[in-house]
Subunit: 405 residues, 3 copies
């Protein structure tokens, strides 16, 4: 019986890991569809190689930073022990948490698309997943440095971020913002007076939509399996994810006037926002959280591009950075028993936790991308941007001419 | 132990819900690949927004019509109670059943493609999922109005529709037929003398195939998880789904002479037909059911388009409407012990149940689409159809020109 | 409790079957993206129909050859009994193993792409899945003819191939090599002096990448669920699959100089290689196995195309044939306790087992494709190749002209 429960825990968290691994294909196609045709190959290669580098970074360093276990070095035979102990549960847990960590460069990738050099970005990915992400992950999910204890003592409840509205999404979004600011806008994106010079419409709405669908479906693993053991499973988490997703769809469709880019980012906005509180808010609260997130994404995306002149290609800062923040705060609001939630949350802890996450992410991201910029160079030349990342970096088009000679 | 079983029930039905949610991406790409390039965006947006509206309709009204539980209104705190009771099992069950309900507009969408207005169709979606679908769902799956009791008393067995050959597919297909007839054929599809004027080949066989694959894979969740609890799982259901799918592939390939549209709708035809009897027929019976369905789809599709002059773009009436009917009847035939089945089915009950389903669907569909047509208008102007739904409704192409200014 | 465990076994192996079924969509899109645009439809139709024919072949013959159970004939009512016994576990086990068997023609398909006739290849698929594949499957996984006993007695351990580096991948790759040699190179691929005449670049990197992602994600079902029962689940298998996949990504990216075809085949190379030893090597060993496989694929692919003049379109012989061999040998090396593995493997048994697999595959494949060539003809005419398999066989393009008349 005990062995069966352990086996089921392995299966449970493995299913989560598989679903979140699949989300990386979603990140890839969301970016492929949104960037220009001449940068599609680069989008695909970035997501795949970011996953590879993230795994190595998290295995050797990051997981140790957050949870004190430096798996890759097999200190005191820790790794060897995990191979057979508890049917290997600790290894699959690493796999599951790694797919979260690897979401950070996947989020950033969409923001800095179409103008960044290849290996320098991989280096930044390594540093981000090894140090910045796990630092805040450790604060929020492992209570490192007494962060959670302090919040509990001060405000009656710790920082509640069940599946990572802040730990993953806001952190990813704010690192992306730092990277975008370091990198600058795409060549010819804005005129010198700050007006928009070129609009680059998505190259493929079907690929964009495919990415959104894969992300949405995989997200149920992201959220539900964050319980980490089968006996912790909550149907409420799945239901709330659905309701927030739907809220996001509806609001983005109406506010975004049926634009397919908005319609397909709407569910993602809702899902980003529900991560934090999916285990404590009511389904009606989740619907409202999603509605707000969907509308907020549409407004913030337009504002980012047109007013702030921040050239965030996929709108990852509005999507992950802002909706993630909203998610943490919303968990503090709709999680309260007064609004139908299960209680046990503190709005103040939510705000402080979210702001600390944003701070760690933005500062950490800025330092890393600046460092890489200074040492390796980060920005493709104007000529290479004009040619496209596909030809200039990968020597091939997404759809090469039929015959080469 | 009891808690473990409950947790496993939540996991089980959640996996079904995730797989059927993924099927909606399949519906989207099947339609994207089949419609003209100028209507691809519209196909994608319809499926995503239909899901959103269906969830709301089923949450507030539909689920109450079928099962007496009006979740969205939280009467007597029902919804609040479900949040913590039985690990939230009832909420995930709603999620699972909602993904079925939302299949109705997804089926209809393929039939009325390329010529319907946007918000009016969403309104029809709302009404269909709120009232028509759950009315028959309640008859068949909840025994409302003593429907099942009456059949049992009269013919020895109730209407057996394990995973919804009729409840979902035939109902969807016959609502689609009503909608298609109300809406009329696409501009320039037929000449005034009834001969075909324009053939519109599929815009993308790869997207069509992608949709078919996603649907086929997700279908195993649709069928197997219809058991709703882990201890009710039957390997037989999975095996029969496979055999019917394969029968559909083979028959559609041979009868359809290797046409890729037929080859990829073949497995779907088999899977539609096996839903009803997947828990009672033998694998050899399932193979025959699939073979018949695959051949029937090819023949009926051609007949619909060329003889009946019914402009059913994806052939959803032959696929879901007719193969669904065949599935219910086939369950009555191959489910009998004499033909290797597990017995306990009545052919007469199957026929009556199927006909009632068709009647409810066709009449209900007709009323709703007529109502929407009269009040909001349903049909795009000829000019808009010529321009395409993408540009006229969504202001963007599937693959927009590389630079707009 | 016993019933619950049985139900969980059904669910466990069903999830594996669903994930591996999904891999077939991956095979389809990997081929669609890699072949020329004029052969995309043919790629899709081949994978779908190969699945149909494989199921029938394995149901009626192949499963009997490997495990002595001729399901399709229901001898002594075996099939009937399985319908209700153990919640139908044996039927889902068949489904799971069938998805492995059907991988053989899916692998071959990529090697012989763009020049093979349709029905003759389906005939070869039938014979391969009915006889060649299950013959070695039976030797390795069912110990037929005392093969495993003899190895155990001779070398202290049997042939260890946990998830089929050889049983599935090397066998598929070497059958493909035989088929490619029988079939000959594509028209105009090489000049008479053996130099390359035409390079055919991939038609769609996004589809190629989509295929690679689906394969990679599904692979976790391929490997983990090879335990076949829930209590046999090992987190180690999942972790090792991840590490080998990542090793493959990194090595293929560096050695293949960021070429997107290599970057996306890299994870597959790692995953092919880890199948055999995923339950016995350490995660660090798995990383090395993947790194070697990724590099080996890049080098061997180039060598196959440019030096050997073997026109293996997707490089399935390097990918499955060679990396599969490497996987079996690597399990013998890194599985030893001295290198951090769990022990219980013999390098000599690994080498012998792998070579026997290769021999069975190559000779069996050669005989079948020669037989089909002599009786039905195997090769498309030069004119048909020039026109493309899509138009010449399926009478339609992947993206047909918008209006036909």
């Amino acid at each position: 019986m005990e062995h069966l429960t352990t086996s089921l825990d392995v299966l449970f968290i493995l299913l989560g890991a598989i679903l979140v691994l699949f989300m990386h294909a979603g990140f890839a196609f969301l970016e492929v569809g949104t960037v220009q045709h001449k940068n599609q190959v680069n989008a695909l290669v970035k997501i795949m190689t970011d996953l590879g580098v993230s795994t190595v970074a998290y295995f050797f360093i990051g997981y140790g930073v957050s949870y004190g276990v430096f798996l890759g070095f097999n200190l005191d035979g820790q790794l060897t022990q995990m191979m057979t102990e508890k049917s290997g549960y600790e290894l699959v847990k690493f796999f599951f948490l790694m797919t979260f960590a690897a979401a950070i460069p996947a989020i950033v990738s969409g923001g800095i698309a179409e103008r960044a050099k290849f290996y320098p970005v991989l280096m930044a990915t390594f540093l981000t997943v090894a140090f910045v992400y796990p630092f805040f992950e450790g604060l929020a999910w492992n209570g490192n440095f007494g962060f959670q204890d302090w919040l509990k003592e001060s405000f009656g409840a710790g920082f509640h971020d069940f599946a990572g509205s802040v730990v993953v999404h806001a952190v990813g979004g704010w690192i992306a913002l730092a990277a975008i600011l370091v990198l600058g806008a795409r060549h010819n994106r804005y005129n010198q007076d700050g007006t928009i010079r070129h609009v680059y419409p998505p190259s493929s709405i079907p690929f964009l939509a495919l990415g959104a669908w894969i992300l949405s479906v995989g997200w149920f693993g992201f959220n539900v399996m964050s319980a980490q053991t089968i006996e912790g499973i909550q149907g409420l988490v799945a239901m709330n994810s659905l309701m927030a997703m739907v809220g996001g769809i509806i609001a983005a469709t109406v506010v975004g006037d049926k634009d397919p880019g908005f319609v397909h980012n709407g569910p993602l906005a809702g899902l980003v926002a529900i991560c934090a509180g999916s285990d404590v808010v009511s389904p009606l609260g989740a619907l409202v959280i999603g509605l707000v997130a969907g509308a907020m994404f549409v407004k913030a995306f337009t504002w980012t591009q047109n007013k702030l002149k921040v050239d965030d290609v996929l709108g990852v800062w509005p999507l992950h950075g802002l909706c993630g923040l909203w998610g943490a705060i919303a968990a503090g609001i709709f999680g309260s028993a007064a609004l139908g939630g299960l209680g046990g949350v503190s709005l103040m802890s939510q705000i402080i936790g979210a702001l600390v996450g944003v701070l760690v992410a933005f500062v950490g991201g800025w330092i890393i991308y600046k460092l890489v910029q200074k040492t390796m160079g980060l920005r493709m030349s104007d000529e290479d941007q004009y040619l496209g990342a596909d030809l200039s970096i990968h020597k091939i088009h997404a759809n090469p001419p039929r015959e080469e000679f």
